[in-house]
Symmetry: C2
Subunit: 213 residues, 2 copies
Amino acid sequence: MDKNLIQSSGRGIPDIVVGRLPHYLRALQHMALEGRRLTSSQELSERLGISAAQIRKDLSLFGEFGKQGTGYQIDFLLDQLRQILKVNQVWDIALVGAGDIGSAIARYQGFENRGFRVTMIFDSNPNIIGSQVGAFVVQSSMEMVACISAAQIRIAMLAVPAVNAQEVADRLVGAGIKAILNYAPISLNVPEDVHVQYIDPVIHLQRMTYYLD
Amino acid sequence: MDKNLIQSSGRGIPDIVVGRLPHYLRALQHMALEGRRLTSSQELSERLGISAAQIRKDLSLFGEFGKQGTGYQIDFLLDQLRQILKVNQVWDIALVGAGDIGSAIARYQGFENRGFRVTMIFDSNPNIIGSQVGAFVVQSSMEMVACISAAQIRIAMLAVPAVNAQEVADRLVGAGIKAILNYAPISLNVPEDVHVQYIDPVIHLQRMTYYLD
DNA sequence: CACTACTTGTTAATCTTTGCACAAATATAG
DNA sequence: CTATATTTGTGCAAAGATTAACAAGTAGTG
């Protein structure tokens, strides 16, 4: 579950608001691709299923980005959101685990234009180390800490079996990692200044079966 | 983003509570594997980063599952939660998209013991149709609606390119699907009685970069 | 048994989040 | 220019979620 610590970098922006910003960004990026120039809180509301008032209020926490009677200039708002979320740069990511999930992530082409780039892949399996996955050669996880430290990488994706996840996470933290996207179906224990987000499809599925007959 | 509709099947349980139940279930399943017999709201709290009071309150919405002075019998609570989430059965799932992500999902071994089983895979690419992925042969997406209807499948996972996601979702709804786990980075429009959950790693990553320097 | 140490379920208070409603600003049409 | 349509940003009220606190029940110890 999300920690809702108030972080120093933001001026006390609620975590729940920060969580919605990437959705706004994604929708705006789609609109830009469609060649649109202007949008409104109303239109975003319909696309995202979030009320227009909430979208306006969320954005107003960071500045006045719209114009009455007109709405929001898509290019401009995109730019602002990218700045706020710090994805007006490309973050290097270390990927740990080159099994089925890790390999799929390594080959995924959707990171680049949204602020991220996988730059190294590690695994502990000797049969996998040295093999090509996507554009990279899988490195031994024994080199992991040294590589990440040297490259000063801050973000890691964790795609190892659940039993190894905590141990790997500990070493990632030791290597200077400050944000972990964890695909292993287990809660991680990390220091307060390290952020963790979880992806576990079963959690989402179980959340839906509750509502099925 | 989650719709927070109150559903008829639950007695007005807040959606946010339903969203935490699968986390409780997962933690308890781990404890059971470790051979533990008893736990407490305190221990769950430490494992999950959710306050003990909240865990007790969430559970109390469904019944009195604990015992003062002792805590919760893990087996019993597991059973209750599985019943509440309706995963005391195994749900068949249709998987659409046999690319990198779809294939990784198809081969994932972690569904079975948590209430789900992929039983069919579809793709529209003629080069992929007919090939073996995991334990299944990829079927043409032209057969999709017929197959899903015939098997009365209610849950689908969507792992197709973003541009095709809405069109495929529409056909899934037509086939009787009531819950979609969408891996495509786009918001879907579906009827009120169809549930959608989203998995987009970039959304999670951007949520974390906000807090990085 | 008496006493201590736990732990639940629940109430009341606090804190957070959402939605409403509207003034102010802009655009459009006649 | 005037009247009508939009649409933002925001103050306030309402709704919702979380936390703290505690009575009541259980277990363990001597």
